[in-house]
Amino acid sequence: MTKYDELTEFLLRLGDSALIQAQRLCEWTGRAPALEEEMGMMNVGLDLVGQARNWYEYAAERINDGTDADTLAFRRDERAFRNLLLVEQPNGDFAVTMTKQFFYDAWQFHLLTMLKGANDERIAAIAAKSLKEVTYHLRRSSQWIERLGDGTEESHQRMEKAVDVVWRFTFELVEKNDAELALSESGNIPSLTELPEKWLATVNEVFAKATLTVPDAPNTFYLSARTGMHSEHLGTLLAEMQFLQRAYPDASW
C-alpha cells in the first residue's frame, strides 16, 4: 500500500471525503422525502464531486506517475482511501443523512475558510471556490437540523437517535493531528489548531436552535481513515462505485 507525502495525503483526505459523501447522496436518487430535496441533494452532491476532482487533480500532479483523478477515485482500494469515517457511514433515515451532512459541512466550512489563506496557491484557489459552495451546503443542512430537531415529537426523537448513531465518528473532525501540524509548520497550509473549537461552536449554536443536546467529546478509537483503517461500510461502497473501471481496466469511458 502506497503512502504518499504528507501534503498529498492531505489532498486525498479532502478529495476522498467529498467523493464518498457525494456517493452516499447519490444513493438517495428518487427516494428523497420531497422533490425539492431530490434537487437539493443532487446539487450538493454535484458540488462535492467537482471538489473531489479538483483535489485529486492536484494530488495526481504531485504523484506524477501517470495517475489521474479517475485513477485515484476508481482504482484505489479501501486501505488507500483517506476519507473521514463519518462520510462513509450508511445513509440511514433522513435524520442520519442530514446529521452526517451537517457535521461534515461545518467541518468543511471552517477548514476551507482557513485553507483559503494557504501559501500554497493551488490549495488556496480550490478552497476559495469550494467555500462558496460549502457555505450554501452548511446553511441548508443547519436549517434541516433545526427543522427536524425543533419540528415534531417524532422528528426530534429521530434527530436524537441520529446524533447518537453518528457522534462517535466526529472524533476525526476534532482530533489534533501531527501530520497536519507538520504541514502547517512547513508553511504549506495555515495552522488548523482552531478547527476543533470552531467546529464545535457551530454545532453548539445550531443544536441550541434545534433543541438538541450536544454529547460529550467523542473518544478516539481504533479506526482511523488516516491509516486507511475504515469501518466495514467503505469496502462495499467502493465495490459498487468502482465496478466498471475494475471490470474493464482497458476501457475508455
Binding site: 447519490c26 436518487t29 422533490l35 446539487n43 452532491g45 467537482g50 417524532e154 422528528s155
Partner: protein
C-alpha cells in the same frame, strides 16, 4: 419525457356551430393561436385533459429519475458521474416546473401524486424498462430524451400558456441531455473495447422499440387525438411524430455504426421516409396497464419515498408554524 396517452373524455370534435357562446369564443381564440392563460374561461374537458397530460408529464420526469439513479453510483468516471447527477437534478427541476404549470389549472400536486401512486395516473411507459448496462445511460439520453424532444418541441407552441412556457425551458435542457447521451455512445463505439461496443448495441436492441412506443398508440387507435389537436394541446399526431423521430435518428445510428432490431426498416424513396416494422402493441398496452418489467418496482420506490418521508415533511410544517407564531408574538 412526456405524456403518452391522454383521455380527453370526448370521442367526437364539436363544430363551431354546435358550441355555446363561451366555448365558441374559446375555440376561436385557439384557432387564432392566442394562448390560453390560467384565469381565462376554458371548457371543463380542456382543463381536465391538460391536468391529465401535464401531470403525466411531470410524473414521467420523476419516475424517470429511477432508471438513471440505478447507475449514478456506478458511473465509470468523475466526468460521467457529474453529467448524470446534473441530468437527474434537471429532471427533478422539470417535474417541479410541470407540477407548477399543472397547479395553475386548479389541480393539487399532492392529489395528483397520490393518483400516480395508486395506479390511477400514468407515466411514460419507457421507464418501466430496466437499465442493465452503462450504455443504457447513453441510450436513454439519446433515444428516450430524443423521443421526448420530438414530442416537446411542438409542445412549445401548445395552446395553454403555462405549459408552453414550461416546455421552452425544459426543451433547452433536454437537448443538452440528448447530446450528452449520444456522446457517451459515440465515445464507447469509437474509443471503446469490444465489450463496450457490445454494450452499446445491446442497449439499442433493448430500448429501440420501447422508445418508439413513447409516441403513443397509432393514429387509428387514438380516439382522443382529434380533440387534443382541435384544442391545439397536441400539434401533431402520434404517427407523424414517430416517423419524424425515426427519420432523424437513423442517420445518427449509422454514424455510431450500430443497427436497429428491425428487419423491416428501409428507406422509402417514394415517401421520403423510413419504413419500419410493426410495433408490438400488445406489449405496449400491457406495460401501460402496469405489467411491464419494472412497473411494480418503480411505483413501490416512489410510494416508499413519500411514505418514508412523511415525518420529514410534517417536521418542516410544524417548524414553520412554530416560527410563524414566534414572529407574530414578537
Amino acid at each position: 419525457m412526456y405524456a403518452q396517452q391522454v383521455e380527453t373524455g370526448t370521442k367526437t370534435v364539436k363544430s363551431l356551430a354546435e358550441m355555446g357562446p363561451e366555448e365558441k369564443a374559446f375555440q376561436e381564440k385557439i384557432d387564432a393561436e392566442i394562448k390560453i392563460e390560467a384565469k381565462n374561461w376554458m371548457p371543463d374537458s380542456y382543463r381536465k385533459t391538460l391536468i391529465r397530460q401535464i401531470s403525466q408529464h411531470a410524473h414521467s420526469e420523476i419516475v424517470g429519475m429511477l432508471p438513471e439513479g440505478n447507475w449514478v453510483t456506478r458511473a465509470p468516471t468523475l466526468k460521467r458521474k457529474l453529467q448524470l447527477m446534473a441530468k437527474i437534478q434537471d429532471e427533478a427541476g422539470h417535474g417541479l416546473y410541470l407540477y407548477s404549470a399543472m397547479e395553475t389549472l386548479g389541480a393539487d400536486r399532492d392529489e395528483e401524486i397520490e393518483k400516480l401512486h395508486s395506479g390511477r395516473a400514468k407515466y411514460s411507459s419507457i421507464f418501466n424498462y430496466p437499465t442493465l448496462n452503462w450504455a443504457d445511460m447513453g441510450a436513454v439520453g439519446w433515444l428516450v430524451d430524443g423521443a421526448a424532444i420530438v414530442n416537446q418541441v411542438p409542445l412549445q407552441r401548445t395552446s395553454y400558456g403555462p405549459y408552453s412556457r414550461a416546455m421552452i425551458r425544459v426543451c433547452k435542457e433536454e437537448s443538452f441531455h440528448q447530446r450528452q447521451g449520444y456522446e457517451i455512445l459515440l465515445h464507447m463505439m469509437r474509443h471503446g473495447i469490444q465489450a463496450q461496443k457490445d454494450m452499446v448495441q445491446d442497449a439499442i436492441n433493448r430500448l429501440w422499440w420501447p422508445s418508439l412506443m413513447m409516441f403513443g398508440p397509432s393514429d387509428a387507435e387514438s380516439p382522443n387525438s382529434a380533440q387534443s389537436l382541435a384544442w391545439k394541446i397536441k400539434r401533431h399526431t402520434n404517427d407523424e411524430l414517430r416517423q419524424r423521430f425515426i427519420d432523424q435518428t437513423i442517420p445518427q445510428l449509422e454514424l455510431l455504426g450500430c443497427t436497429v432490431p428491425d428487419p423491416d426498416l428501409k428507406w422509402n424513396e417514394e415517401r421520403g421516409h423510413y419504413d419500419f416494422g410493426e410495433i408490438q402493441w400488445e406489449e405496449f398496452y400491457e406495460v401501460l396497464k402496469g405489467n411491464g418489467p419494472c412497473n411494480r418496482e418503480r411505483l413501490e420506490t416512489r410510494r416508499n419515498a413519500i411514505q418514508d418521508g412523511a415525518w420529514v415533511r410534517e417536521a418542516a410544517v410544524a417548524h414553520a408554524n412554530k416560527k410563524q407564531k414566534q414572529q407574530a408574538a414578537a
